[in-house]
Symmetry: C2
Subunit: 172 residues, 2 copies
């Protein structure tokens, strides 16, 4: 909690610095930039594979991480930070035992994606999402965006992955 509190302060400070040094942002009648991703990026289910992930314990999650063309190119070429336009999608499901597979193998060893739990996105736009390291964070459950209070937890945690431009998933 202490660390997260510190990071939220850091975010607020970063926002202040940007407001002072980037006159092109927030000028005129424009409203403050939205911090979170509120629309599901179209076509994400056709994107290429970046990696897969299993989060055990309370998460009990099995997922796939996909990237659009910009994200994939950056991953493959090792480009950091990710360029604007990069979008990363994490498709999460419960980590469910496969009774069908286990019956055939004769061993309780097979786990497959169960119920879809959420889809999360990271959208790189260094202007729009400047307050959160250039990344917009999104979380969707049954097609509906997550609550703001929930989404506020994304950046402080991802900010700890500074060496990889705030992205946990590495290319497989």
């Amino acid at each position: 909690m202490k660390r997260i509190g510190f990071l939220l302060v850091a975010v607020a400070m970063l926002g202040g610095v940007v407001a002072l040094t980037a006159p092109g942002i927030g000028r005129g009648n424009e409203q403050a930039s939205p911090i979170f991703v509120t629309q599901i990026p179209p076509g994400y289910r056709n994107w290429r594979l970046i990696s897969v992930a299993h989060e055990a314990a309370n998460f009990n999650s099995l997922g796939a991480i996909l990237g659009n063309d910009v994200a994939n190119k950056a991953y493959r070429e090792g480009t950091l930070p990710f360029p604007d336009g990069a979008v990363i999608a994490a498709l999460h499901y419960t980590h469910a035992p496969s009774a069908e597979n286990n019956k055939i193998s004769g061993r309780p060893q097979s786990f497959v994606p169960g119920t879809p739990t959420n889809i999360q996105f990271m959208v790189k736009d260094s202007v729009k999402y400047v307050a959160t390291g250039g990344w917009g964070f999104g979380h969707f459950q049954d097609g509906q965006p997550g609550a703001e209070a929930f989404l506020k937890a994304c950046f402080p945690c991802h900010a700890q992955e500074k060496a990889h431009d705030l992205v946990f998933t590495q290319y497989v």
Copy 2:
């Protein structure tokens, strides 16, 4: 072992039936059809996601299953059996704890793909692979195809998934 033995006999019988009833196959100087996939299908790493899989216990495997356009279309439209030209790829890695992620979350819960272990393929060609249900099975380790004795174990196991045209992975 008993079940596998039975299925190998069944395969041999199936091959015999085909030889008797399909005069277009094996005629002239053509050699007997190869049973296994010996070349890695090009471009598979760009294919679309079908699903992900975690095999625990001795397998200790985390993987992604991708499909070419023909396979994806069939999956999405629920076409069974899969049409000729469908190719399914399974990219396998060790199921490895992520020290980096766990450090940030403060909990030993995160597992990611570790060392690549093998890539497996199922290639649908109802003529070429008629002896194994129309599917050619392939297994590659460090780019090299698996031994024939090893590959012989694929079909008897997959044959138990008759309701899904011998394919274990379901679309996620």
